[in-house]
Symmetry: none
Subunit: 218 residues, 4 copies
DNA sequence: TATGAATGAGGGTTCATTCAT
DNA sequence: AATGAATGAACCCTCATTCAT
């Protein structure tokens, strides 16, 4: 959105243009370290681009940071959508959502980290705030819909949908944080535990080894 | 512990010595921004101390950072302990723990933020790793003991204690993160929700408005 | 050699490129004071260059120092070679060498001073060690060859060439040091004295006022 | 002279007073590195003295430096005198002088280095200039006297005494410099070579292995 | 005589940013 | 679209020096 050209809607490993290449490298670096610690030169070095070129594309480090967030959210959406389309029944959607957090944990962890970095400093901007929120809300509403559908279909017990969704996604954030703090934290197990709790809350008994229960206990 | 000298003879809110004063200011700043963004000069300005003095006490910015973490953990412990002694029955201990996260949310949020900052960069050190871990473990074990006692006393249903404790504290981290990301996140409500879930899990029915249920719904 | 780029297309006193300009200014300053006393800012001020530019070209003060030594040795070589080509007979070569130390005393004194500064601190590096040695060895071998030729031609008495060369060049170092220590030390006279001693040792009788005896007594 | 108390004329390993202890440590450090590179704290650390104490004794770093030079010259004199008294005949005095430069090479090298450091910067002071000169002159006059005596006694050929003395001491400086520049420089051999040259100049034939020829060839 | 605390003035180095080409 | 050169503003850190005790 910020970079001069881009929007590649097609599949995947098309030759990235320079701007997108920079955004991806920036994303990795900002996530690994943080805004203040990453140098424009670092990003240049990671992509073989001249420092001035980054300015040519993005105008300033802050603008690059913003563009990085937007681009990352876009890419995350694609990933999620891809995985979502295959699920249909409410339990499958919910299980799928949780599974995503295991499969894409690396991506999500990075996004949470950048999100925290973004939120933590005086760098905030309404458009970016909206982008971040959009990411969280979109996910939440998908799951909310699934729960509501499940209730309607008599699969789930009646619950306060909004509260439950918030509970789940808050917990998932906790899982991500934990895995940042401690190298030996078992994300898969934690998500499995969460899933068990959710099924209990919804009064849903998954049948043992069906694929809907994508997150297997370890 | 970390600063060169200490000499505190009297009880508590005595005029802090210079080193501790610096540590506290540093904690606030590091939590608000992050290691890379906070200037030694900032810390000096916040305490009216000359920049060189900080080096006199701590030797380097990194050492100051480490000392800050240790000092913060120490102080957090004191807070927690203070609040803990008043609770006696298992449900009270658990409710108290949760309540602490509401009452001391500011402190805890800061600690999580600094913890993430610490974990995120190449600045890690075994002693500090241990300090951070100690903080988490100590809390966990206190709650674990309470749950086990509750089970023994027949108050709670039999559960996998370790898993439950991890679940709770992971969720609490999630709550903290959420409140960092979104200004309007209601920590009290989220913790209340968690408490409800915990009681359900433990098969414990608190009697409506008794003080044991310290975290009131909003 | 050391600076990033060079592009010199034309012959000699073309406008120096920035890097070389810096190296020359650095040489003067390092020789006048010493590594520790010379500020990057000093060098910048002497060339009208921004401090950061020096880092752009050389990366660090130490690297600049090393580059300065290499560059100075290079330049000294050029000077020496220029003066050497004009001499042909063995006595002329020897006399020329000595004369060089009078004519180029300023340059040589500076090189010795920087050499001592370099040798004195923990800043030593194999490549630079080699460069310095190369400077001394090259000179020595040129004179050694001349003496050997003179002996072969029956001009000189048979002597231990290596020892004599070491003796002469050690003495020349002494002359340089003396002229550093005492402003009123007469370099020309000292070198003339050395020459007399050398001729005596070699059993060579120069005819009074011929140009071969370039170092006239004062 | 500068330090508040001192002058110990007695033999050697008497318990040094604090000021002298500082001066000796300072001498070593200034010689090893140089004025600018040595920290007051370094000197303090080397003696276990508080930084402020050094100021108490010497007032400033420069004053300490000056005091160090004076003290070092004093101590060098003592050394030289001690060794000189044992020699009596002119050849013995000369040989002894040369030998001193081998035996005390470490001390002398340090003095030359500090001398150069002193001469090199704008730190010069008339009194110190005099002290340094005194050191050189005193030595020179002792040797000059010996040569003159030798000539008078018919042991030596008639020579220009002043010139010869300058030649010798200049060469000795050269030897010291060389040994600073190159770790593998053989001081003893170089001095032996110089001695041979001197004997030749003076027309003196030492008898093989007598103790007068203190500097043995290697 | 001795010391811990404190400070002002840099010094080396980095970095976001710009500009001419 | 791309780059090398250049710069101002900081930033971390050091150090000579002072002062109260």
């Amino acid at each position: 959105m910020t970079a001069k050209k881009q929007h590649r809607t097609t599949a995947a490993p098309v030759p990235l243009n320079r701007a997108e290449e920079l955004l991806i490298a920036a994303f990795e670096l900002f996530a690994e370290r943080n805004f203040a610690s990453v140098t424009i030169k670092d990003i240049g070095a990671a992509t073989g681009a001249n420092t001035a070129l980054i300015y040519y594309y993005f105008g300033s480090k802050e603008a690059l940071f913003r563009a990085t967030i937007e681009n990352a959210v876009d890419r995350a959406f694609q990933h999620f959508r891809l995985l979502r389309t295959q699920r249909t029944t409410p339990p499958e959607v919910i299980a799928g959502w949780l599974e995503n957090h295991v499969e894409l944990q690396d991506l999500i962890r990075k996004m949470v980290k950048i999100g925290l970095d973004y939120a933590g400093t005086g760098r905030r901007t309404a458009p970016i705030d909206r982008t971040v929120r959009r990411f969280y809300d979109d996910e939440a509403s998908a799951v909310g819909d699934a729960i509501r559908a499940g209730i309607r279909q008599g699969l789930f017990r009646k619950v306060d949908v909004k509260k439950l969704v918030t509970f789940i996604s808050t917990h998932l954030d906790g899982v991500m944080v934990r895995s940042m703090l401690f190298d030996d934290f078992d994300v898969r197990a934690a998500v499995a535990e969460l899933q068990a709790m959710v099924w209990e809350r919804l009064g849903w008994k998954p049948d043992g080894d069906r694929s809907s229960s994508a997150v297997r206990r370890t």
